[in-house]
Amino acid sequence: MAKPHVRIAVLILLAGMSMNPVTAASRGLNLSELCDWDLVVDRDAVPSEHYAAEEFQQFFKQATGMELPIRHTAEGDGHVYIGPGAALEKSPLGFVMDRTYADDELRIVITADNVAVTGGRPRGVLYGVYQFLEDELGVRFLTAKVTHAPPVPEGTVLEATDRFYNPPLSYRFFLKSEVVDHVDFAVRRRQNGIQPLQIPEHMGGSAPKQFFLHNNMGLHEAGFEQHPEYYTFSGGKRRSSQICPSHPDVRRLVWSDIEKHAPDMRQDHVIALAQNDAAYPCDCPQCSDIRREGESPEVVAQIYSEKACLERFGQPKPLGMTERPVAGPHSVATVDYVNHLAEKLEALRPDLRIGTMAYSDTMMPPRKTRVRDNVIIQFATYHACVLHQYGDPSCRVNRVTAEYLQGWSEVCDNLVMWFYDHNHQDVLSVVPNLHLQAGAIQLFVENNAKGIFTQSTPRNNGFSDLRTYLLTSLHWNPYQDSDALIDEFLAMYYGEAPAKLIRQWLDLVHDGVDRSQHTNIGYQARHIGLDPALGETGLRLFEEAMAKAETPEIRDRIEKVSITAWRLVCEPLFWNACWARMTADAHKVPLADVSFPLTDAERMEQREHYRRLLALCNKYEINQYREGILIDHASEQIRNYLGLGEGEEI
C-alpha cells in the first residue's frame, strides 16, 4: 500500500510542486493539537469552497474524532483556511494568495500554527481538500458507498509543507455507472466531466465538455439523395457513411449552423464536428489534393506505397485504415475542414473551440498540416493493443499507436484522449491490462493530451470497483504507482487477507496471457491464450478469500468479483455456443476445428458452471455479457448449443 508520504513524494517529484522556504524550517503539525482549531471559509467564497469546508469537516471528524467548527473570520493562529479570502490574506499564510491558480489547481500549506488548503476556482480548493484528506489522513474514497477513513493514531504529526498540484489532464471523464450515477463520488474521484449528469455548482460544476460523439461532422441538412456530392467518395462511388470534408457547400452549410447557434453557446463550449463511426473516408480528387499537403501525387504515392507501409507500419494497410492512404492521411482533409471553420469561429466567438476525431481512418496524423489552436483533436485508442504498452517495440500495433500519437502531438497542442478500459466482447472477465493503463495515460500526457474520456464496462462487471478506483486515480495523476493503488484498494475494500488471494488471481490472469498475441478491446479469453483451467484455480482462491472475509458484506464483495473466475471456467461453453460458428464461417473451416472438444460429461459440467454464473449475475445485478448485449442472449445460444428443449431450464 502506498504510504501517504510516498504519495507526497511522488507528487513533489513529478507534479511540479514547489517548496516554500517557510516550510523547510517549520515544525510539523501535531494533529492532536487541533481540537480547538476551526475551519475558515470566506463568507463570499464560491459555493464549492463552502462545500469543501463541509467535506473537510465530515471526513476529518471520521478520521480524528474532532469536529472543527466552520467560521468565516479568524483571529490569531489555529486555523485551517479553506480557499482564499480576507482572513487568509491577513494570516501568516496570506502569501498563497499572491498568485492565481488554474481551475483545478490546488495548494496545500501546513505549518505548526495554521493550514491553508486553497487553489483555483471553481474546483481547485475542493480538490485540495480531498488531496489533503488522502495524503495527510489516509482517507480513501473507494466506492460511492465505501470511504476508508482510518482512525489517525494519537500523536500523529503532519510534516510542514507547501505544495501545489495542477492535474495535467484538465478534463477527466470516466464513463462508468459506478461513477456517473454518484456525483458526489465522481467529484471525490476528481472527475470533472461526467455526463449526462451535470456536476452542481456547489461541487465545482462541470468542466467544459470535451468529449463528443460521431455526428457526421455537423452536416444536418442536404441529404445524400439530393446531394451525393456532399458525401464521401470511396471505392469509386459516393456513399452516405461520411461527408466530403473538402466540399465548399458542405463547409458553408455547416458554418451556417455554427454561426446561428454560436452566440447562445456557453463559454468555452467545444463544438463537435466528428466523423461517423464508419469506414469509407473521402477519396475524391479535391480531398486527395488536400491530403497530399503540397507534395506531388507521385511523391505521396511513394511515401505510402505498399512497401513503405509494410516497413513503417508492419503491414501494407496501416493501423486503423480501411485502405492504404495512397493520397496521404485522411486526417489531413479532416483537419483542413475543421481549421477552415475554426478560423471563422475565432472571429465570431474566440472562446469557443471545435473538436474533431482522430479515429480509425483518421488515426494517422497529418505530416505537416497544423491544427489550429481553437481545435481539439479527440484521439481514440480503439485500435490499440490492450496486451502491450504503447510504444512497446515488440508490439507492432502499439508501436504504431505511439507513433501516431507522437505525430499528432507535433501538429496539435490540444489532444483529448478517448481511452478504453474494458473488453466490449466480454465484460465479465478480468481485462489483463491493469499494469498497462498508467503507462498509457502518461504517454498521452507527454504527447499534449489535455483531457481524457475513458470508456468502461457496464455496471458491476469485471472488477468494476477496482478499475474505477485505479483509472480515476490515474486520470488525476497518471504518475502514481498502479501496483500500489491496486494493492491499497484490495486491502481496504476486501480486507488484508482476502486481498492477497484476490491479487494472486489478478496476477495469475495477467501472467497467463499469451503476450505474443495482439488484440484491441474486443476479444475472447481464447484469443489471448487464457486457459479455462486457470479459472478453476481462481475459484479456489475466491473460495478461500470468502472464507477469510471479515463481514458478510465483504464476503459478498468478493463473491461478486469471483464472477471473473466463473466466466473463465465457462469459456468453452461461451465459445462453442456464441462464437465458434461465426468463427468457422468467417474462416471457412469446419466447426470442429475451432471448437473446444467437449465430452457429454464436460458439457454437463459446463452447464452446471454456467448455472452458477447466472445465479451470481442475478444476485449482483449484472445483466450484460457483452457490451450492450444481455446475458439472456447468451443463455439462448447456450440453450441451443446444449440442445435443451423448450421450457427446459439451463
Binding site: A222, H227, P248, R251
Partner: protein, 218 residues
C-alpha cells in the same frame, strides 16, 4: 420538380439545333467558364464533383467543359432569383457527347439553406448525341427560393460517358400556365404578393398574365 413544371414538360423542354436567338439576360455568372477552376474548394464558381468513377473533367480554351466517365456533376455559381411565381427559368446549354445527361436546379433560401423544394429536375434523363444541340429546360422555384444553381449531371452506364457543355444560360421568361392551373397559380401569386406588400407598403400588386412558352423547336 413542381407539379406545374412536370405538366408543362412537353412544351417547356425542347431540343433545338445549335445556336439560340434569345436576347434575354443570362443570369448565369461566368457562363464562358473563363477563369473557372471547377476543382477548387471555393464557395462560388463552377464546381465539378465526381460521383461514380471513372470520372473526370476538362476545361477547354474554346469556352467549353467536358465531363467524362461514369457519373459527374457540374454545378454553376449561384444567381439570384426574382421570387416571382409568374416567371419561368429557362436553362439552356449547347451540348453533345455520349451517354446521358440531366439538368437539375438547386434552390437555396435567403439564408443559403436548402429551399423547399430544394432540387428540381428540369430536364430528365436525356440521351446525348455526337451532334451538337442546344438543349433547354424550364424550372419554377417556390417562393422561398432566393438563389439558384444549375447542376448538369453527366452519366453513362458503361462508364464511357462524354458530355461537352458550352454557353450555358439561365434566362427568365414569363410563365405559361396550363389551363386549370392558372387559378391555383394566381392564388399562390396573390398570397405571395400580399406577403410582399406587407413588407413593402405602397407597392401595388401587379396583374397576372398567362403566356405561352416561346417556340423553341428548330
Amino acid at each position: 420538380m413542381t407539379v406545374a413544371s412536370r405538366k408543362i414538360w412537353p412544351w417547356a423542354v425542347a431540343v433545338m439545333a445549335l445556336g439560340h436567338a434569345s436576347s434575354a439576360e443570362n443570369l448565369l455568372p461566368h457562363s464562358d467558364f473563363a477563369g473557372a477552376d471547377p476543382q477548387a474548394n471555393v464557395e462560388e464558381g463552377w464546381r465539378w464533383d465526381s460521383v461514380r468513377a471513372p470520372s473526370d473533367f476538362a476545361l477547354s480554351d474554346d469556352g467549353s467543359v467536358t465531363l467524362t466517365g461514369g457519373k459527374g456533376f457540374l454545378r454553376s455559381p449561384s444567381f439570384p432569383t426574382r421570387q416571382d411565381s409568374a416567371l419561368s427559368y429557362v436553362i439552356g446549354a449547347d451540348v453533345h457527347g455520349r451517354g446521358a445527361m440531366r439538368i437539375e436546379m438547386i434552390w437555396w433560401n435567403r439564408n443559403r439553406k436548402p429551399a423547399s423544394p430544394h432540387v428540381e429536375v428540369a430536364l430528365h434523363e436525356h440521351a446525348l448525341s455526337e451532334d451538337p444541340q442546344r438543349i433547354e429546360a424550364t424550372a419554377h422555384p417556390e417562393g422561398g427560393a432566393v438563389f439558384g444553381q444549375v447542376r448538369f449531371v453527366q452519366s453513362s452506364e458503361d462508364d464511357d460517358g462524354l458530355l461537352v457543355i458550352r454557353s450555358p444560360s439561365v434566362e427568365i421568361t414569363e410563365r405559361y400556365f396550363e389551363p386549370g392551373l392558372l387559378l391555383l397559380a394566381l392564388e399562390s401569386r396573390v398570397e405571395n404578393e400580399n406577403a410582399r406588400t406587407v413588407l413593402s407598403k405602397g407597392k401595388s400588386i401587379r396583374g397576372d398574365r398567362a403566356v405561352a412558352p416561346r417556340a423553341r423547336c428548330g
